[in-house]
């Protein structure tokens, strides 16, 4: 499309990733220096789980959300929309899944373009007009195209290890160091460092996730050529989201990163939210609309 590339957004994304990886290098260095391989191996073992999860992400996520893969016979209109949008986005057609829920929401999953799935709730289809739904679907396809699942999994990998160390480090590492005699101080340092790394990385990952949302919004606007439709969809969804009681879906908090609108869970600071506020996203889409009209 003919609007300008958002270099500011790319730059912030780059800086965030750079800081994250710098942090991880320091983390890996400190852990190996103070504790040696034992605890790191233990951490890697747990971190490995997140990679395994990533490899089965498409089926796991769909199952945990109670989503059902649907055929073109059951939802011809939905399939047709996703087909056309994938074609415009230059993507192979992803699996199409539906969750039977009143909460209007959508998410994409899958480690690469070939086993991606796009899932929408029945509430979303009932709430939105066709062009608004197309905007939301294009947003999810943009996530697939931008490889957000992969980027976020890799970004969180060492953060998961740090978290595991904080949680289980004393128990596991403590047992070993007693056996070797001494080194107990190392464990304390390792746990403290892990804690700091985990907190900082958590904030950075959240920021990164918010930037990915902006990027996916821009991608969706480029795919549909209609930024306003996505903006009005976002407004509709967020309005609906406020009305819907905070029920069991809160348990799926870690899935939030791939929801178009995060499930609200009380007062959480901006720093901790995975998604930028709707007003900001709508504002950005309005800018794109203006740029488009100016031609």
């Amino acid at each position: 499309m003919n609007w300008q590339a958002d270099w500011g957004l790319r730059f912030r994304m780059f800086v965030t990733m750079f800081l994250l990886f710098a942090l991880y290098i320091v983390f890996a260095g400190v852990i190996t220096a103070y504790v040696g391989g034992g605890l790191l191996l233990f951490g890697l073992f747990f971190g490995g789980f997140s990679l395994v999860q990533y490899y089965f992400s498409d089926t796991l996520t769909l199952r945990s959300m109670g989503a059902k893969t649907v055929s073109a016979d059951e939802y011809p209109q939905l399939h047709a929309s996703i087909e056309r949008l994938s074609q415009q986005a230059d993507l192979p057609k992803p699996k199409v899944a539906v969750v039977d829920s009143k909460v209007p929401n959508a998410f994409a999953t899958g480690r690469n373009q070939r086993n991606a799935a796009v899932c929408v709730t029945t509430g979303l289809m009932n709430t939105l007009e066709q062009d608004e739904l197309d905007g939301v679907l294009a947003h999810e396809l943009a996530h697939v195209k931008n490889r957000d699942m992969m980027v976020m999994t890799i970004a969180s990998f060492l953060s998961t290890i740090a978290f595991m160390m904080v949680r289980w480090g004393a128990f596991f590492g403590g047992g070993h160091s007693r056996g070797r005699g001494g080194g107990g101080g190392g464990i304390v340092v390792a746990i403290l460092v892990s804690l700091v790394v985990w907190i900082i990385s958590y904030l950075l990952i959240r920021a990164l996730s918010r930037y990915r949302e902006y990027a996916a919004d821009r991608g969706a606007a480029a795919i549909t050529g209609n930024p306003s439709a996505l903006a009005s969809a976002l407004l509709k969804i967020s309005g609906e989201m406020d009305k819907v009681p905070k029920d069991d879906m809160r348990e799926e908090a870690e899935m939030n990163a791939f929801f178009i609108i995060p499930i609200r869970s009380g007062v959480i600071g901006r720093l901790f939210s995975t998604h930028p506020p709707t007003e900001r996203r709508v504002e950005q889409l309005r800018d794109l609309e203006r740029e488009m009209q100016a031609f």
Binding site: S81, R84, R114, K145, Y211, G219, A220, G225
Partner: protein, 201 residues
């Protein structure tokens, strides 16, 4: 995936860049020899119709571009004899449908129309070009994807079925003559609208 692609994916702009990538209308000329092969070697008759599918943009500048496409086709009608119409389907996509019993003229007119979109900076809105054929079993189409820059066959049958063996035959027969899409998951069908017809029918 090249290095630049990977970088774009990491910076989250791949969707935006790819969806906005411009088309190359010159690829359409690949169809001019394919017409002969289709008729002489495979027994497919040309239906003398071609169509361009594009998605609209809600701006006055885009409407100007569509107006200019119509003006150019109108002007060319006397010279080439290509009839045309502009319609839309129930997916909200727009179509320029062209009819001409001379394949060369048909392709030239399509190229003009596509080129006009590209010149106006709307090449990325072009989705597909369709070339229609028919044999005793029914219609068969060659679809050109502007996004991929490749052709692929589409042979629809009743009940939203595709005749994959006919598609396979077309693929192998035209291999070398057309830039064929190798990855079959990009062989997107273009099914008829609710009314049971395609925009070009």
């Amino acid at each position: 995936m090249g290095l630049l692609d990977g970088l774009r994916a990491i910076l989250g702009s791949r969707a935006e860049v790819d969806a906005g990538r411009d088309a190359d209308s010159d690829d359409l000329f690949g169809m001019s020899t394919a017409y002969l092969t289709m008729q002489a070697d495979l027994g497919y008759e040309s239906l003398d119709v071609g169509a361009l599918c594009f998605s609209g943009v809600d701006s006055s500048d885009f409407r100007d571009a569509v107006d200019e496409v119509e003006a150019i086709l109108e002007a060319g009608r006397e010279e080439t004899g290509t009839e045309f119409s502009v319609t839309s389907d129930d997916h909200g996509y727009h179509w320029v449908v062209l009819t001409d019993d001379d394949p060369e003229d048909l392709i030239t007119s399509m190229h003009f129309a596509a080129d006009t979109f590209i010149e106006h900076g709307y090449g990325s809105r072009l989705l597909a070009a369709v070339f229609a054929y028919e044999n005793r079993d029914g219609p068969a189409y060659w679809i050109y994807s502007f996004r991929r820059g490749r052709f692929y066959p589409f042979v629809p049958r009743d009940g939203r079925e595709r005749d994959s063996s006919a598609e396979f035959t077309l693929e192998s027969a035209l291999d070398g003559e057309l830039e064929i899409e190798r990855e079959k998951e990009y062989w997107y069908p273009l099914w008829p609208s609710e009314g049971g017809t395609h925009p070009w029918e």
